[in-house]
Amino acid sequence: MEYVSPEGLRLDGRRPMEMRQIRAEIGAVSKADGSAVFEMGNTKVIAAVYGPRQVQNKSQQMNDQALVRCEYSMANFSTGDRMRKPKGDRRSTEISLVIRQTMEACILTHLMPHSQIDIFVQVLQADGGTRSACINAATLALADAGIPMRDLVTSCSAGYLNSTPLLDLNYVEDSAGGADVTLGILPKLDKVTLLQMDSKLPIDILENVMQLAIEGCKAVANYIREILLENTKQLEYRRGV
C-alpha cells in the first residue's frame, strides 16, 4: 500500500515532516491537584495528578524521595473498532510503567520525601501516538500541580514507510508494519529519556528517523511551554494582588 503519494503527501494530507495539529488545555478535572487534556490530531487523552500527598500504603513509603505511581487506561470508545478490555491488561501495564519511569526521571522526587504522586492518564480517543500524547499530557498535569521538575518531558513518534521518514504516525500508518520510533526528550537538557522502536531499521536511517522525532519533540515542547506560560500569567493576573 502506498502511504506517501508521489506528490509527497500522506494519507491524511500531511507532508512527511508535518505533525498533526496539537492542542492542550490545562485544568480538566476540577478535583485533581493538576490536570490537562492533550490532543494530537484525533488522539485525545486526559491526565490527572493527585499529590504529593500522604503515602496510602505505608509499606511503600520512601524516606528520601516521593513515590511516583501511574495508571494508564483506555476508554471503551477510544478506538475505531469498539473493544471491551478489562483494566490492567499487559499493554496498559507496560505503558503505565513507561510513563511512570519517564516522569519519575524528571520529577525532583527528593524534595518530597514520605509522599506519593499519582498520575492517571485516560485515553479518550486513540489514533496512533497514544504513548506520546500521554506523556505530554502528564507533563502538563504535573506542572499544573506545581510539582518541581528538572525539565519538561515531551514526546513524539516517527516512522519509516515507503522509504520516507514520517513524523507523528497516525493509527493507519502505525499499523502499516513499518518501524515506529517513540521518543521522549528533556528539551532543555537536550537528552533522550525514552526510546522505543519496533521492527527493523538500518542504522543510518534510524539516525534520520530519530532526528525527525527529536524535531517533533522540540516542536511539542515549544507549544507546551507557551501553554504553561500563558496559564501561569493568567493565574497570576486573575488572582490580583
Binding site: 484525533n42 471503551n76 499519582d118 492518564v121 479518550l124
Partner: protein
C-alpha cells in the same frame, strides 16, 4: 470516599430539613447543567454532560450484527459504564469496578426495559435492517471523568444527549437476494438516520436524607443518604424503571410519593436537557 465530621453531617442534614442545602439549592433543585455533543468524533454519537463538578462522557457506537433468535425483529443495545481513575484515585485498578457495575445495571434497567425489550426507551425495532438476519448493535459506553455525586442522572442525561447526536448510516439492501443467501449490503457514508429520542427517559434519583429527599445530591450529601430511589421517567410521564439503592427500608407510601415528585421534576429536567441539547447541536454545526 467522603469523610465528614459529625458537625458537618449535622449541618448538611439540618440544611436538607430546612430546605436550604449547602450550596443554597432547594431540595428539588438541580445544579447548573451543561451539554456538549460530538465530543468523540470516532463514535456515531457522543455527548459530555456536566452537573456541577460531575463530568461524564457517553458515546454511542453502531455495528452491524445479528439479532438474537428470540427477538428477530429487534436490534440490540448494551450499556457499559467505566469509572476513570482520573475522577477519584480510589477508582484505580479494580477499585471502580463495583461502582461501574452498579451504574451499568441501573442504567440498563432504567433505559432498556425488560428482557424481551418491551418498554425500552430506545425503539429497538428501528434498529433492524433485515428481519432475523441483520440489525444494528448499539454499544453505549459511559465514562466518568470527574465525580461529585449524582452520577446516574448525569450518565442518563449524557446517554440521552449522545443518542440525539447519533446518526446511523442508512443501509441499502441489494434487491433480489434470496432468503438463504447472505444479502449484499451497501452502508451509506452520507445518509444518516437520526434517532427519535423523544421517548428516551431521563433518570431522577431521589436521595433520602433524614425525613426528606433531594435531587441531584453532591457526593457530600450522598454520604448522608439512608437510601436512594432512581426513577426513569419519559416525556409522557410514564415510569420506565426504578432502582432502589442504600440499606435503609422505605415505607411503600413514601416510594409512591417519591414517584409523583419524580414525575413532576422530570418535566423540568427534560425541557432543560432538550434545550441544552438543541443549543449544543446548533453550536456543533457552526464550528
Amino acid at each position: 470516599m467522603v469523610g465528614l465530621s459529625l458537625g458537618e453531617q449535622h449541618f448538611i442534614q439540618g440544611g436538607i430539613a430546612q430546605d436550604l442545602r449547602c450550596d443554597g439549592r432547594k431540595r428539588l433543585a438541580y445544579r447548573p447543567i451543561s451539554v456538549e455533543t460530538g465530543v468523540i468524533p470516532q463514535a456515531n454519537g457522543s455527548a459530555r454532560v456536566r452537573m456541577g463538578a460531575t463530568d461524564v462522557i457517553a458515546s454511542v457506537k453502531a455495528e452491524l450484527g445479528k439479532p438474537s433468535l428470540l427477538q428477530p425483529n429487534k436490534g440490540k443495545v448494551s450499556i457499559y459504564i467505566d469509572c476513570s481513575s482520573t475522577a477519584e484515585p480510589a477508582f484505580e485498578g479494580r477499585g471502580g469496578d463495583e461502582l461501574s457495575a452498579e451504574l451499568s445495571t441501573a442504567l440498563q434497567r432504567c433505559l432498556l426495559g425488560g428482557k424481551s425489550g418491551a418498554g425500552a426507551g430506545i425503539d429497538l425495532s428501528s434498529l433492524v435492517v433485515i428481519d432475523g438476519k441483520i440489525c444494528w448493535d448499539l454499544y453505549i459506553d459511559g465514562l466518568v471523568v470527574s465525580s461529585d455525586g449524582n452520577l446516574l442522572d448525569a450518565l442518563g442525561a449524557a446517554i440521552k444527549a449522545a443518542l440525539s447526536n447519533t446518526g446511523i448510516p442508512r443501509v441499502h439492501v441489494a434487491a433480489g437476494a434470496s432468503s438463504d443467501e447472505k444479502p449484499e449490503l451497501d452502508v451509506s457514508d452520507e445518509e444518516f438516520l437520526q434517532f427519535d429520542t423523544s421517548s428516551v427517559p431521563v433518570i431522577i434519583t431521589l436521595t433520602k436524607v433524614g425525613k426528606h429527599y433531594i435531587v441531584d445530591a453532591t457526593s457530600e450529601e450522598e454520604s448522608q443518604m439512608s437510601s436512594a430511589v432512581s426513577i426513569s421517567v419519559n416525556r409522557q410521564r410514564s415510569i420506565c424503571g426504578i432502582t432502589k439503592r442504600g440499606g435503609a427500608g422505605l415505607d411503600p407510601s413514601i416510594i409512591l410519593d417519591m414517584i409523583s415528585v419524580a414525575q413532576h421534576v422530570s418535566e423540568q429536567l427534560i425541557n432543560k436537557l432538550d434545550s441544552e441539547i438543541a443549543s449544543a447541536e446548533a453550536g456543533d454545526d457552526e464550528s
